[in-house]
Symmetry: C2
Subunit: 246 residues, 2 copies
């Protein structure tokens, strides 16, 4: 084989490899889009007491689960056949890690839908909807931004998502305190208020998962694992480090 | 280089590779041991109202977090340098997936410890300790069995762990119903009973994560992704399939 043919072959292989990586990333972003819609539908089903919408959210959870399995399959195939290195390897790892978090977000959306149905059918909670809408909008935006950061390899945007998680936690704690106070004043409402509390809990978890995805974006772009290092150090990594092997 | 030297070199490389894989698996099992201890200490701190023990659980969460990052680092290094295939690749993937679940189990243990401290310092709950101890013992055994299944590549034991999760869910729901009833009868206890409810919730989540780890063991041993397929199909995969490429 001549050197030229070899180069052609290498280019061909490398182009096909790029296509596969691009395909994996598209799959992840498609899963992200589906999950984002699940979250937004789950919140709407709660606010509008729409049992039918809640039912469809629960039904679609299977699709999300299937997407997770399919992304992991594709990632394993790429790892086995292409033996990616450096930023390619990080992309594959980030996709499979992020797909787990997206699947868990889908689970939380399905749980919210379950409580929406309970509330729509067995009596509304006297409190908590405003807080659920507010925190719901907040975490939905976090999921959206985390996915946009993934799509654009944007570490700054990812950092902003991680920072948002703190204020979601604050909003969550304050809403919970209020609901506990209300329960004590009106014990007959306990069961219904508890249903809203579980919704808030799920929303808070969705914020955590969005933050995890944001951390994988920073790992992907900057090459550093920023989990568990705190926001201050994370900021330093995003602003000061250029990837060592991109 | 003679053929013999080449063979020697290959054997040498392959031996070193095996050592690295073994090292990764040991790291995961060590992390598992640490997390198991965290769960058991968190439950003890609740039952014995032992704030000091609870504090030490919370302090040790950082060690667990560090282990997760270190396992993922080692796994990436193996993927980049060794380009593992078939069952070796599955081992690396299963280790990094399982480490995420172990880390989350550690988080839940730290949360339980936080509520133990609240209860020890601001007043015990009038109910829920028996249930917490019972479900706690149950999920702790699930974590232990999932790790043993990992250590022995035992898909049957992993299947048993996944099956256990159903009965934990049942126990959890029944305990929650009782606590809600109690709350309504004695509204002054709401805050304290809620603290125990959050503990039960964390325990139930630990059961979910143990089930996830069990599913990775089946993937590792049998080569099939059994997430989201239901217990019946999972059983069929464990009993009927031999791995295609082990």
């Amino acid at each position: 084989m001549s050197v030229d043919m070899n180069t052609d072959l290498n280019q061909h292989i490398s182009q096909q490899f790029n296509t596969e990586l691009e395909e994996l990333r598209s799959q992840l972003l498609a899963m992200g889009g589906a999950v984002e819609k699940q979250v937004s539908d789950a919140i709407d089903s709660l606010i509008d007491a729409d049992s039918e919408l809640a039912l469809s959210v629960r039904a679609k959870d299977d699709d999300v689960n299937f997407m997770e399995v399919s992304i992991d399959e594709e990632a394993s195939r790429i790892l086995a056949r292409r033996q990616p290195a450096a930023s390619d390897l990080r992309l594959v790892i980030a996709c499979t890690k992020a797909s787990t978090d997206l699947e868990r977000i889908g689970d939380e959306a399905a749980k919210i839908a379950r409580f929406s149905m309970e509330l729509a059918e067995n009596g509304e909670s006297p409190r908590g909807y405003i807080e659920a809408r507010h925190i719901g909008t907040h975490v939905r935006k976090m999921v959206q931004d985390a996915l946009n950061a993934f799509a654009r390899f944007d570490a700054d945007m990812a950092l902003a998502v991680a920072q948002e998680d703190k204020s979601v936690d604050r909003e969550y704690r304050s809403a919970m305190r209020e609901l506990v106070t209300y329960m004590m004043e009106d014990p007959r409402s306990i069961t219904r208020v508890l249903n809203i509390m579980w919704v808030l809990r799920s929303l808070e978890r969705i914020g955590d998962h969005a933050r995890n995805i944001a951390e994988y974006v920073i790992y992907l772009v900057k090459g550093t694992d920023v989990r568990h290092i705190g926001l201050k150090k994370m900021k330093a990594e995003v602003f000061e480090r250029s990837p060592s092997d991109a």
